[in-house]
């Protein structure tokens, strides 16, 4: 299967994630959309690694996954902290800081 199919797929996933991050208001969902972007990248990475049959890219994917996990940890902690303050995970109520 030619690699550009993977390219198209993961670009589409990436754009979907982008739009989601842009349009959703629930912090968790926004964060999931960002994870979707990262996974689109992972998919593309693996596809290329197969194309060049070069393992480096797969190791890179491992690193992406681990860093993403670390981000999940920090992110969820922040979101929980936010939730305990304002009892909502809606990012549109983050309005203390403005112009």
């Amino acid at each position: 299967m030619p690699v550009q199919y993977y390219l198209f797929l993961s670009l589409a996933l990436f754009c979907i994630g982008m739009m989601g991050a842009m349009m959703r208001r629930n912090a968790i969902i926004v964060f999931m959309c960002i994870e979707l972007m990262l996974n689109a990248v992972n998919l593309l990475m693996v596809a290329f690694s197969k194309m060049y049959n070069d393992a480096a890219a797969q190791i890179f994917v491992f690193f992406i996954m681990v860093v993403a996990a670390a981000e999940v940890a920090v992110g969820l902690a922040i979101i929980v902290m936010m939730y305990r303050k304002v009892h909502s995970v809606d990012i549109n109520i983050l309005n203390r800081l403005k112009h």
């Binding site: 390219l7 589409a12 990436f14 754009c15 989601g20 996954m65 681990v66 940890a73 929980v80």
Partner: protein
Amino acid sequence: MNFLLLAANQQTPFSYLPVAIQLLVGIGFVVLTIGASQFLGPKRSTADKLINFESGIPSVGNARQPMAIKYFLVAILFVLFDVEVIFFYPYAVNFKELGQEGFWAVIMFVAFFLSGFIYIVKKGALDWED
């Protein structure tokens, strides 16, 4: 065959077109779906609709029970320590080639890892009843 990987030595705008098309398709799809659901979907929200459906029985109490923060904490820590294991696969695959140096590298990795674990234990993140 693969125009994206080929070096496009004829720099016509056409050779850029696929990228643009891809972006447009990707963005357009999402805009379409979300926009459509916004406009087409009927917006009649009666009181009956807003109560959550408990198989006909009127719901009791609030669904949002305040949950102990411990659950989040444990879940988060689990995710961390679970995913870190991923680094053992590449080492396991070719630890012979890596030899001594690789071994010590992994030992260092585990050491940092353990220090993190000891830290959270000391910090009292895992003891369940305060």
